[in-house]
Symmetry: C2
Subunit: 120 residues, 2 copies
DNA sequence: CAGAATCCATTCGGATACTG
DNA sequence: CAGTATCCGAATGGATTCTG
């Protein structure tokens, strides 16, 4: 609410490192900080158009309310698209939007690293 | 608490995509999901050894308690190192550990993308 | 300067039960 | 199948005050 969305950190290091780190606050970052958000992007990105139950399986222990609200968040923000087919039994498929795929590409290296680096 | 840390999503797409998305839950992911965590990693990575007040400036609106508890979290988890110099006035410098730098490399593309993609 | 301590409002997420 | 609705405890984050 009271955050300042434009706060680029100037690269002031003396090591010659050219990294420029902008640190966006709010917006997408808040969304990504909610539970399972990053993982959902990656899972949907990995197993293509996917149904709700497959997602639930993947996240085994997560409650349905949490997952579905996160899916809704992500869809509302334009990272996932939700396609509902008028069939019986009902079928719903989630897939990444273009925006979502772009995000996923940035997320994958992170999650992969976390996965293989988790040493606790 | 009740999460299952090992839940690789099998790549079951028929598009020939070879992306394998592991979705780590808990551990580092929970830490990264806390406020300013990712941004802190990137900021410290970008402006090298940095003092507390510089960080506060960068995050302008964030409360000191939040920032310092996040810094503590990250230090405790081994992503930041905190060096305190016995001077007057006291000086403390934060920098990334090796682990932190590895993480930072995966975070930077993400934050950069978010920064330039934020279109709301 | 660099926080720690305290207190509190809000949010978040899980359990459970129910539905088109 | 794919959720939604409700309820509730836990956790998070902010304001403020104080300190070595």
């Amino acid at each position: 609410m009271t955050n300042n969305p434009e706060r680029p950190a100037k690269t002031a290091d003396s090591t010659g490192d050219t990294a420029t780190c902008y640190c966006p606050i709010g917006g997408v970052m808040e969304l990504l900080s909610r539970r399972y958000a990053m993982q959902l992007i990656c899972v949907v990105g990995a197993i293509g158009p996917v149904r709700y139950n497959e997602i639930e399986d993947t996240f085994g222990d997560a409650s349905s309310s949490t997952l579905s609200s996160r899916l809704e968040d992500l869809a509302e923000a334009g990272y996932l698209s939700r396609e509902q087919y008028a069939e019986i039994p009902p079928r719903v498929e989630y897939k990444l939007t273009e925006k979502g795929e772009q995000l996923c590409h940035r997320l994958e290296p992170l999650l992969e690293w976390v996965e293989e680096h988790e040493e606790q």
